[in-house]
Symmetry: C2
Subunit: 141 residues, 2 copies
Amino acid sequence: MSQTKNTPQPRPDARTFSIGELARELDVTTRTIRFYEDMGLLTPRRRGQTRIYSPADRVRLKLILRGKRLGFSLAESRELIELYNPASDNNRGQLQALMDKIHEKRAQLTQQLHDIEVMQLELDEAEQRCRETMQRITHHN
Amino acid sequence: MSQTKNTPQPRPDARTFSIGELARELDVTTRTIRFYEDMGLLTPRRRGQTRIYSPADRVRLKLILRGKRLGFSLAESRELIELYNPASDNNRGQLQALMDKIHEKRAQLTQQLHDIEVMQLELDEAEQRCRETMQRITHHN
DNA sequence: ACAGCACTTTACGTTAACGTAAACTTCCGC
DNA sequence: GCGGAAGTTTACGTTAACGTAAAGTGCTGT
């Protein structure tokens, strides 16, 4: 048996993170991470007072930050996380509500996708005009 | 001459909008539009006290709202608008600064594009799991 | 034993982006 | 000439998402 020995890492996912580590890696302040916890978006384990973050906690934090990059509020990011963790409420209407939210979010993403494409085209034009102006300046007739 | 007569619309772009019209069409409040003006993002003509919006003003407003949908701050939207209206400052370093901002914005958009794609995949997975659960419930063995 | 560093809680401060209310003016139809 | 709708200014209020400061805890190297 290759992995049955008493290795320092019984399971490959046993790794944990301090709040400072996560803050540096993901480029946020510790204040921000604690704030997200206050808002109920994170619930790390504790060793005494100190927070211990699991890889899953780290993933949740990354989800929040990705939402932030897309302009989502924390409430919206919370919804997205709940979509990912179906909370095991196997009720019927709940599932339909889930589906509705999924489609709603998808519609929003589609809109953003379109907005981005248009904006990219406009940036292309702006860059083009910019280049032309530089040309006209460098070797002005 | 076909268009030299004193028609009600001398030029095809002579149309104007009231603040209320724009608010209804673009689904914002008049307060919001006035706020954007206070922030220097809009400068409509005036007839007396009353604001008169040109088609160009309307475009600017739509640009702001699109930026908002992408999570941009008003300051960022202002920058984007300035990129589109090069302000005719034909200086050299200014042009390079413009190019830099363009590339910066493009990088940001690229990041958002990537975020959206990943998030769409996750929504697909979530929907799939949701469907399966509904299956298991409707005709439970 | 003690400095130093990372962590903790508590609490008040700040900024952006509006909302909301009050108190006008202007125009339009009747 | 008057009520209502749509416009205006001024000003204070609100919410989200943290920033910042104060004061304390806990380990770690020397």
